[in-house]
């Protein structure tokens, strides 16, 4: 197993020497795990981050080796896996919005602020639970994985214009829910908050 300057070098080399693929794991496991954990909690994140790399290995022949950074590809795989657990993710967001206790944080001993009294935090979480899946993926890759528009486009395999519109729709939904801006349809600004659905 040699040293590879870029992910694409490691992936290309792994066509002949499979063990070269371990370099991709070593570089990115931490980031993939952190992102998944933030979205669906510790237990499922352990399972899905391991599965992400197994799938990546199995499908490495399809990797476009003209892209040196494998992060968008790996996060795209992880996002696909997350969709199977959408119901779980939403249920936990709704639990957080309604009870102020975040089930994701609840799994850790010694993490502070389990009971979050801030109503803005709860409205934010409630709004997240109402953002459609494809917008949520774009939004959280942007906010939590620090992806650029181009990287999100690669990860979600959509045109960059689509990323732009998904992000702006998602952000508008959240702003509306936080009443930072009144919803355009409302003639009078109000602080009436959205539903906990």
């Amino acid at each position: 197993m040699g040293h590879h300057a870029s992910d694409s070098d490691a992936i290309a080399a792994s066509a002949a020497t499979a063990a070269d693929f371990a370099a991709v794991f070593d570089r990115h496991f931490g980031a993939i795990h952190a992102y998944l954990q933030r979205r669906i909690g510790r237990d499922l994140a352990e399972e899905l981050s391991a599965e992400t790399f197994l799938i990546a290995f199995d499908t490495r022949a399809r990797y476009d080796v003209s892209r040196p950074d494998a992060r968008p590809w790996l996060f795209g795989i992880a996002t696909n896996l997350l969709h199977r657990h959408r119901r779980h993710e939403l249920r936990e967001l709704r639990a957080y919005a309604r009870s102020a206790a975040d089930p994701v944080l609840d799994a850790f001993e010694g993490v502070d602020a389990r009971i979050d009294a801030s109503s803005v935090r709860r409205h934010l979480v409630d709004a997240l639970a109402r953002v459609p899946a494809e917008e949520l993926d774009a939004l959280l890759l942007f906010a939590w994985a620090d992806f650029s528009y181009a990287e999100i486009a690669q990860a979600l395999e959509v045109p960059i214009g689509t990323v732009r519109s998904r992000l702006s729709r998602a952000r508008a939904r959240i702003r509306t829910a936080l009443a930072v801006e009144p919803a355009p349809a409302q003639p009078q600004p109000t602080c009436d908050e959205g539903g906990h659905r």
Partner: protein, 441 residues
Amino acid sequence: MNEIELLRQLRAGLPAAKPESRAAARAGLMARIEHAKRPAGTGTPSPWWRRPRLLAIGGVSLAALLIALPIGIFGGSGKVQPAVGQVLRQVARVAASQAPVAPGPGQYLFTRSKDAYLQATGYSPRCRAHPCDRDHPWEATDEWSVLVPADREAWIPFDDSRRGRVRVVAGKPRFVSADQRAGWVAAGSPPLPRAGRVEDTALSGVGFLDPSELPTDPARLRQRIEGREIRGVDGPPGEAETFTLIGDMLREGYLPAAVRAAIYRLTAELPGVELLGEVRDPVGRPGTGIAFTDRKRGTRHELIFDSATSALLGERESIVESGAYGFEAPPGTPIGYAAYLESKVVDSVGRGAPAGAGAPDRSVGCYDRASLHTSTTIVHGVDPIAACAELWREGVVDARRGPASPHLVACAYDGSSVAHVFPGSGPAVCRRLDLVPLPSR
């Protein structure tokens, strides 16, 4: 602070993966690498991005779909009650003998229900005189909890090759307690969520649970539910969660009679399940009730069955301790309910459906060459060739080409709904790749 900065603070600073988890994941990968007998790029690739054929009911846009259901994670560790067992085994016998409402390909299961969900309604006294403080609207916000009743109709497609629909009409909100109402009155009775609001949503990626994943032996089914091994039936560990998942499986879905019977039998053996006896559902119909109390969350969830047909008639959720949901109210205060009124097979998503509802929805892979071993862009669309042509024109499939699409041909694995679209023309392109040509639209 803008919404992205707020978002960045959410769940920030969680601990990194435990070293043993990382080591286990790496060992799993190395084992897979060891077993990779043939070089990459040979053999039939498995389309990993193919969505599971059958997903959980309400997998997408679920925010708008589900009634407020218990969120229990860590259940109380009660014992198995013999009386529960007797009653549920009887319900199971009925379930086994009932012909379920069974939709076929292209059809939908339509259900109509009345439900109510908890909503917090916030208000800042400053909003009355002038617009809310746009930077810190929440600082002066009071909040009251109301139950919003709703009429709900759902069209769940047979599988995820078509889009379903959910239409919800919200009713007049009702305060969860007299105290909540008094607080609202004291603040000058600010506006509440309006009655008559309609949410009409097209759903993609939903369908029924895959019966091939659902054992009819109660012990094995329970093992698979508790192991969270069934696609669409997942969640954290714990008996309260298992009870929730059982409710999920019985609601607005189709399951074979033998599987429904197995669900009732395994529920009979679930520790902590309590028999309520003959009770009324939220619209007053008599039925047999069972309940599970989740001490950790301070909530209780009731399921009510029709003992003559084994159908799930309704459910209720209430708090068992004041403050469980962030408001003070007596134990027993309801925080959600549902009554299932009608369930039938239909051939369409009904009149006035939102755009996309009822339309075919398939995964489409757009390939840059006539080979399965090349880079792929995945989209979801109604018309595979049109979807890929658009991506070609945008330079997404192959950035080196100008703003034009080559001739494209759509193929599929035999029996699969996933379309693979390649540059080229004629069915020979598909056959060379051992695929079946898809008829052009």
